[in-house]
Symmetry: C2
Subunit: 128 residues, 2 copies
Amino acid sequence: MANAHPLKVKLQIFCGNEIAMGPGKADLLDAIEAAGSISAAARNMGMSYRRAWMLVDTLNRCWAEPVVETVAGGSHEKGARVSEFGKRLLGSYRALHDTIDASASIGFESELAIHLREIPRPSHHKPA
Amino acid sequence: MANAHPLKVKLQIFCGNEIAMGPGKADLLDAIEAAGSISAAARNMGMSYRRAWMLVDTLNRCWAEPVVETVAGGSHEKGARVSEFGKRLLGSYRALHDTIDASASIGFESELAIHLREIPRPSHHKPA
């Protein structure tokens, strides 16, 4: 029998040379929606604020509508939320990923799984 | 109109915690088949011999049959070739990738392409 989840499918959408959507940005959007700000989302993901801000900036520059909106507030740390457009975008991206992931699993099971070991054999040699 | 190739699909097959097949290993197998040795393939790919050897070792430990076979020879630098099993494996992997890539493109065009910009808008701000 093969491993439980031997397949990993990664889906990236490019806008020019920039990644308009991918696994990292999708996870960041979830974190922003849960935390209510870019800085809190970054902390929760163990990511610098600058990096999170850059990812959000790329998202907002690559799509026709804003994906993340900042929420006006009196404090130094403004809030942020995923826009309605952003939520639909995230849903479509995740649905597309799940569809091809399921399709890949079917092909893998029928063609490749039978030849895959449960765990790798140990390595005995070193390169010369 | 969206970009010509805005989608990138990456397919990895895991054996335990090791990558049994992925884009890098598939390209290395092509290079070994073309060059006739691991060292020449590594040079052609701009990769160290040690790294290429490790990838081949992982391939050979993760699948039921050897993927790359060394070819006996008198010289210091032995030749290597992709086994018949390896060729079938590579063909199945590439076919699976192409199938899900085509499936992803259809979903992308119908759901997401309309919202994607041709190129990103310029970035005007810097993070606070």
